[in-house]
């Protein structure tokens, strides 16, 4: 038990997060200052949570997909579609819950479509989800007629900018989703089955796992998460921006999952660590914003940091780091 605890503390994701936060603090001494303002927490750290939430939400869904040795490139486009659905519906006068539920349903439908292509038609995930990645943004533009659909519905805006116990709503939603999905994969056998499919789909089928159904479920979950992220992002700017909402966020989500230690080759995964990965990415973004570097350096700095983080997690570094701890460990089934 003690050993487990130590390993948790020393895992590379949390170390990387601590490192990035430390650098932010060095660049900007007020980074950790949090104040109470207008009934909510206010500070850079809160911004990191709030701004990191959309990618974190995407990463929650993406983790399951990647663990099955798949990838979902369409989440950014699904965000745009679902944001557009929610926005146009409230503008057209539908009640907020109806608009939100409709947007979520559209997200799930998009996910089911991906799942159908991958699981039933056996199309490679990268190709299958590319379809919606390209088409989705077009659909979103059709819905919004090419413009930003601005809305003033207070309930919908609350989803993006409200607060709960002082925390930004987006972060609260991400946390709730994280807990829900973590429970789903840990307390049921779904997590094990997802890993099994990712490691060896042929063996999984022979072991009696309904791999098709599970794959469809995993992509549907990813679509659902993308819908939530799309609603949050639209609500945050009070408008559905079909051209830019979620643009390239699928790549950030994949990166978050990878930083979270899940291999693109499938198998072992961790949803909480993927969320940590999303927070690391956002902490980097915020750090770059605060640093005052010219924006031309943004991408270079980000790329450099990511390489560093991935290096820390590489098997080589892990060996160096874990060496002493593993040697004396002696376990066995008696």
């Amino acid at each position: 038990m003690k050993r487990l605890h130590l390993e948790r503390l020393a895992n590379p994701q949390l170390l990387a997060l601590a490192g990035v936060l430390l650098i932010n603090w060095l660049l900007f001494p007020n980074f950790f200052r949090i104040t109470w303002q207008d009934g909510r927490l206010f500070g850079s750290l809160i911004d990191v949570l709030n701004r990191g939430a959309p990618v974190a939400i995407l990463a929650i869904g993406m983790t399951g997909v990647i663990a099955t040795k798949g990838v979902d490139l369409s989440v950014g486009a699904i965000m745009a579609v679902c944001g557009a659905v929610a926005a146009t519906m409230v503008v057209a006068g539908y009640p907020t819950p109806v608009a939100v539920i409709a947007a979520l349903a559209v997200g799930i439908a998009c996910g089911l479509w991906n799942g159908f292509l991958v699981a039933i038609l056996d199309i490679q995930p990268i190709v299958a989800t590319l379809v919606l990645m390209v088409a989705g943004r077009g659909i979103a533009q059709l819905i919004t007629e090419g413009s930003i659909v601005t809305f003033n519905d207070p309930a919908l805006i609350f989803i993006g900018t409200g607060s709960f116990l002082g925390f930004p709503m987006a972060a609260v939603i991400a946390l709730a989703l994280l807990i829900l999905v973590t429970l789903l994969v840990r307390k049921t056998a779904i997590g094990l089955f997802i890993q099994a499919i990712g490691v060896n789909r042929a063996a999984a089928s022979l072991a009696g796992i309904r791999s098709r159904m599970l794959l469809v479920l995993v992509y549907a979950l990813s679509g659902f998460c993308a819908a939530i992220a799309g609603i949050v992002v639209a609500a945050d700017i009070r408008g559905a921006d079909a051209n830019n909402s979620g643009l390239w966020l699928e790549l950030d989500a994949i990166l978050a999952v990878v930083i979270g230690g899940t291999s693109l080759l499938g198998g072992r995964f961790s949803v909480p660590m993927a969320v940590v990965g999303a927070i690391i990415i956002q902490a980097m973004n915020t750090g770059i914003l605060m640093s005052g570097f010219p924006p031309e350096f943004n991408l270079i700095v980000k790329a450099g940091m990511i390489i560093l983080i991935l290096l820390i997690q590489s098997p080589f570094a892990t060996r160096l780091f874990v060496r002493q701890r593993l040697v004396p460990a002696k376990a066995g089934p008696k």
């Binding site: 911004d47 701004r51 914003l289």
Partner: protein
């Protein structure tokens, strides 16, 4: 339902937008092809609807082709127009290079071509004229407004740049810097890219506010487009400050939402990038067809400054119907 509304408003307000309407009759009954890039932004959609209106007013039969961001589609469309024997062609080119062949074909067919809002790398004799805005000037107008607005007071400015490396971002930055140069009381304290989007504009502004003493040190925000300004306004409000008062907001484009913000007292100024590129184009065409008057090679549209004094509610209503 939105489309119908759009059309109704557009028709009703058509006259309001027609700044000049000389030589209308000479174009009556002509067929003009228009190869548009696509509908990647609200401004682009507005440009399309204004162009259609302008054509309708002048009795022009406009053949519209949406290229969906692909040059090959544009070239195909232009060849189609040539084959149909149109009287003139409008092109909003998606990229600058690769136009020589098709423009030569148009020239050989004696069909005048007018470029809208972007230039091309091709010999100037291959097209009649090019109608575009002057992005440096847009930045300069915004900067001059701010210089006049703050007077001698010290002003720490934060800048929301467009996409790094894009032409409008470079030019609008340059124009603004030219305008405030020589006024030591105006300083750009921070400058970051907001990628021309509302979401990034909000996120970057949040960071600026944290970095500048909770926003208390910031006197004004200059955004390279209105969308980022709208995002910044929300960030300022979230920080418990009053946009337009505590932090002045100046931006470029003049899209409807910035006028809505002006109505609410949350935005101070915007410089118009007019969607009406077609109007001057048709005027030049009319003059050319009438007596062969060669227009200027580069027609620069007006970069008009709008402030809350310019009836923002009216501007909002006018523009809302254009597809922004």
């Amino acid at each position: 339902m939105n489309i119908i509304k759009t059309l109704a408003v557009a028709a009703g307000l058509a006259t309001a937008l027609t700044s000049v309407a000389i030589a209308q009759d000479s174009l009556n009954g002509l067929v003009v092809g228009f190869s548009q890039i696509g509908s990647e932004s609200g401004w682009r959609a507005a440009e399309t609807s204004v162009t259609k209106q302008q054509a309708e007013e002048r009795g022009i039969d406009l053949k519209f082709a949406d290229a969906q961001q692909k040059q090959e589609n544009q070239i195909k469309a232009i060849r189609g127009f040539i084959a149909q024997g149109v009287d003139a062609i409008l092109v909003a080119p998606v990229v600058a290079t690769g136009w020589e062949d098709v423009l030569t074909e148009a020239k050989e067919a004696e069909i005048p071509v007018i470029l809208l809002d972007r230039g091309v790398d091709a010999p100037e004799d291959l097209y009649l004229t090019s109608v575009a805005s002057d992005q440096v000037k847009e930045g300069r107008v915004a900067g001059e407004w701010l210089v006049a607005e703050v007077g001698d007071a010290d002003c720490k400015i934060v800048e929301l740049q467009g996409t790094v490396g894009s032409t409008p971002a470079i030019n609008r930055k340059q124009g603004f810097e030219e305008a405030i140069a020589g006024h030591a009381n105006l300083v750009i304290a921070r400058s970051q890219t907001g990628d021309f989007t509302r979401a990034k504009g909000k996120e970057v502004m949040e960071g600026f506010i944290k970095a500048e003493n909770g926003g208390a040190d910031i006197c004004a925000v200059y955004a390279h487009n209105d969308d980022m300004a709208v995002g910044a306004i929300q960030a300022i409000k979230d920080a418990g400050l009053k946009p337009g008062t505590d932090i002045k907001v100046v931006s470029i484009d003049a899209v409807p939402d910035i006028f809505a913000a002006m109505v609410a007292g949350e935005a101070n100024a915007t410089v118009e990038l007019t969607p009406n590129m077609a109007g001057p184009a048709f005027d030049a065409l009319a003059a050319y067809l009438k007596d062969g008057t060669a227009p200027e090679k580069f027609i620069i549209t007006e970069s008009k400054l709008y402030t809350p004094a310019d009836n923002p509610q009216g501007e909002y209503d006018t523009r809302k119907g254009l597809g922004y």
